[in-house]
Subunit: 337 residues, 4 copies
């Protein structure tokens, strides 16, 4: 079968012909129809994870059709259209993952291939209203967004939500989930165009963080005051800007982040946090139960993931470069076969 393989770090991905995997006990083989990219794929290529195991077929997100089942797997799965939960071995405690936790697509071979071997317990029926491409866009980013917004920040319908850095996959799911759950959502971006697109998706407004006065602009736009406005803030940038999120948070707010693309968090004034009784949460991908909840919410509300550009599996390297330059709005998808 064809697969996109990382042979060495910091080298282009290569499309190779490799052996099709076989299903062991409790496993299935999925014939992939589409896959989607995450920053993680670029980070794997850059060798950013401890204990890298190469070569590896990358890719955490995928959709397809169950082509083969191993021993002990219900034959109802055969031929089913599915998506795959890439969050493996979370473990028994909802609050944090176990030491055995791993993400599909390194160390285990991932979804940028014609076939995928995976434990049957990570299969979920593809939502009927989604194409294979749209469904492939859901897993990693949707799960990360769901846990951050719903489980960790505990967003209540009607609350005021700020999503920073709109345009990336997770941030867009946060936006869509919060809007569909009846929240008032605002965004930040370095691009006015992305803010406009976010408003078309239901955001009430947004500000450009390249303006040094962006927090003042945001407070003015929302009608907030010196004590802030937002009850929920979802961030993945960290860095020096993080301290400003504290200024726009209202008393009792929950700030949740699952990334730190702009570096270390600095210059937090303790009094700003404790006088406002703020809550700051770190989050990652989530549990099996959260994945099921998230998929159900997408189905129930007929949500369509935002797709950026679609590439062929053979163009994986090109797709990775697009991911890396950060100009995308929505998920970058690979069409397979």
């Amino acid at each position: 079968m064809k697969a996109a393989i990382i042979q060495e770090i910091n080298q282009p991905v290569s499309i190779q012909d490799v052996e099709k995997p076989q299903a062991g006990a409790g496993e299935v083989i999925v014939q992939l129809k589409a896959a989607a990219l995450n920053h993680r794929d670029v980070f794997v290529q850059q060798g950013k994870y401890p204990g890298m195991k190469l070569p590896v077929i990358i890719g955490s997100d995928g959709s397809g059709v169950v082509a083969e089942i191993g021993e002990g797997v219900s034959d109802e799965w055969l031929g089913k259209e599915v998506i795959i939960n890439p969050s493996h071995n979370w473990g028994p405690d909802n609050r944090f993952y176990s030491k055995a936790f791993k993400i599909l697509g390194m160390p285990d071979n991932g979804t940028f291939a014609e076939y995928l071997k995976v434990e049957a317990k990570y299969l979920h029926p593809k939502p009927g209203h989604l194409s294979f491409e749209a469904a492939a866009a859901v897993p990693l980013a949707g799960l990360t967004a769901w846990r951050a917004l719903m489980s960790r920040a505990g967003m209540k319908p009607g609350e005021r939500v700020l999503v920073t850095g709109i345009g990336g996959g997770v941030a867009l799911f946060v936006l869509q989930f919060a809007v569909a759950a009846g929240a008032e959502v605002w965004v930040t971006s370095g691009s006015d165009e992305k803010i406009e697109k976010a408003m078309a998706l239901g955001a009430k407004g947004g500000v450009n963080y390249k303006d040094p006065n962006w927090t003042k602009n945001l407070i003015a736009a929302t009608g907030g005051d010196r004590s802030g406005y937002f009850e929920v803030i979802i961030d993945s940038a960290g860095g020096p800007h993080f301290a400003k999120l504290i200024d726009v948070a209202t008393a009792g707010a929950r700030i949740c982040f699952f990334g730190g693309t702009t570096g270390n968090i600095t210059d937090i004034v303790p009094g700003k946090v404790f006088f406002k009784q703020l809550n700051i949460y770190g989050s990652t991908m989530g549990t099996e139960a959260e994945f099921a909840e998230m998929v159900r919410f997408i189905e129930e509300n007929g949500l369509q993931p935002v797709l950026d550009e679609t590439f062929a599996l053979e163009e994986t390297e090109k797709a990775l470069r697009r991911m890396d330059n950060g100009t995308q709005f929505g998920k970058i998808v690979l069409k397979i076969g």
Copy 2:
């Protein structure tokens, strides 16, 4: 001014001309434009509350314009279109109300009158998208629904929600709130017509509880199984049917009730509750913060309360009789002036 007054229990309400109230310190006078009925008004007429104080102007729900302000009240309120939170003196603990708790419309004079005296802290700006009639329908029922669904049952977007006895004011708000918050909502009713109307409001389906097999019908319709289906159930009937709600609840479900119109709860099989790890909550009206959240949610999502029939203030007795016979679908409203 004209007012609808209960002179003695079990007697028709009488429309009388009484002295217009005056605003003391911290109080305002609201010129009422509309009011709305609740079962409580009928219960007051029937003398069902301990420590009844008569005569009294009944009515908990109202909207209008601030006509006068007392000492210490910001003059920004003057002339403002408002609705009134009828939940007074909740007290410092979100979890339960204080001993000083009281509901507008007995012992204090209520909203079925041309003018109302009320503490300014219970005023909220009328949502801009609502008429006075629609706004008057919101307070008591909306607050009760919000606390039961959001604070007590802690509904998470995407969950499966069952609302029993659809048609009453609170149940309809529960339905609308849950739908707008991205839940999958089902209803029960004794009237197929009401179920159809509920589906027009976003319910996915419903069953008629007059059918002795209604729980089986409901499980079949939803695709649930022997271990139930619903994660959240909101009830106000209590009585012998309550035990059946346990059968349609899924493991870990939350069942919240705020009324017991059909009498005592009986024949709960302990094992059904503990093997499924169920959670059963009692609830009432709510806190000042919950009222503000609820109004904001209505505004943010552009919700329109379901209105049944509108009467003139002079027809209050007729309106009470309609409330009492239970055939309404939505709030019964009084137009004033």
Copy 3:
């Protein structure tokens, strides 16, 4: 090896010589030093569970020494003194157990034997301050008590706790846990002697529920008032008495039950539940994480389980009959080997 076996329902347990089990992959063989009884053992003997599989070696609680390890088990376990978590396959959601959930001692062979085969993941080091007999008394009852009191009722240190039916294994652990966690604890019992023993364990007082005025007596003793006294109530009786627990609960109280030995719950007055905003929870045994927390709490606080009487393995039937007649105070233990 010798083992206590149920051959048919409603027949005395028989002590037989059976084959010693062998450890498969991920499993260990524990040489048991002590076991303890639970009502469950009597219920299995009475055939009260659906899908009974006989013959079976009963027994959920045990302590001993790891005598053999299967493939893939760390050899650090060999020779270790251990207790065994009998709550198997809870599953991924802390809130309820999965469909694969099972309890050690039916369908799988249990602890009333010289050797036990069990998955290594259910082993926990025996607390150093406990004898094998005391350690064997901990697992099922301690876990049930911990989940009910700490996870479900969410007891906060300093709260007022009522434990009904003191004397049984779970109730005594609830008492000990609550006292060690800084709560004010009261008990009920049908025996004044048991109440006195509970006070020696740290209860502040108690009442005899055979007195028809027991709720009034309890309120008088505590200094509570008409609106109740207890913030947390832990019950396992259910039945007609359950409604009285509602009378002694204070506003916002949590009532948790994990049994229903006196039958169905009846005559709950809805208004008493909702005006007081009560919370009623069903509970069972718990998760792997709860088991670890519970054992750690016992170690940290040097708690000694209350032991009733110790029998030899050969006297299992006699021990079961003592369990069944309900006069015990504390855990009934079997000494093995």
Copy 4:
């Protein structure tokens, strides 16, 4: 009456003879028997709060006897021995304080005087087992400790707790509360002697943070590993050391802080927070309900606040200087009259 007054910032407190206050409606006059110091008193003297109002009688903590009651106050208070909750106007939401929030002892006159005027609702009966001096030590520090540990961090009995900077009033209450609630508690300090004293109060151990390897030492002492050890960490220092707390926190830990005496928080590595799913909370003094819970816990468990040194009211300046130099272990108390 005699009172300790701040006339101008950065000047010694002066003991003056001023008019005894009179009780208005809802108020009482307490004849103070003892008071206690907090860093806040020093900060007021240094003019560190916005909107300072001088001159003022400082002091947030006090105990005494009710000498006079105003209109509408129950005469049962007359002659009662009391302590005073210094957290005023918290407001309706448990999660954060209202804009009207203020702390006794600036802007309102405080407890370093022979008489205090205060609203009756802030009175609590003095726990019977405490002297006036010990009781005066409780309010501000005890409330801050209770909210941080119990409400915000949600410490569960049996958890592993780290208290930084042991010796100050709040940290010592955190230690005592956690120990009495069955936790395993460790401390840090810059003084080995303070660590020993903390161990005499029930701490399991501690490390000196002056040692640059203190986190490694702590992990070694506890038996933790690279992924940390503590489920709850309570801090009031902030500053560059805060980032190290993240290293000793275990997955899912809650870190709560209510001060920032060593400056801004810097160099937080986002991945350390989100991979471990940490929770970081700011906290302050608390609600009326929390104050009542805290006092009840102290009574129920017979806790004795740790007292450092006792001064006469006339020696207030000397007492403030002792507070300021940071060598105390426990509360510094003023004896009055």
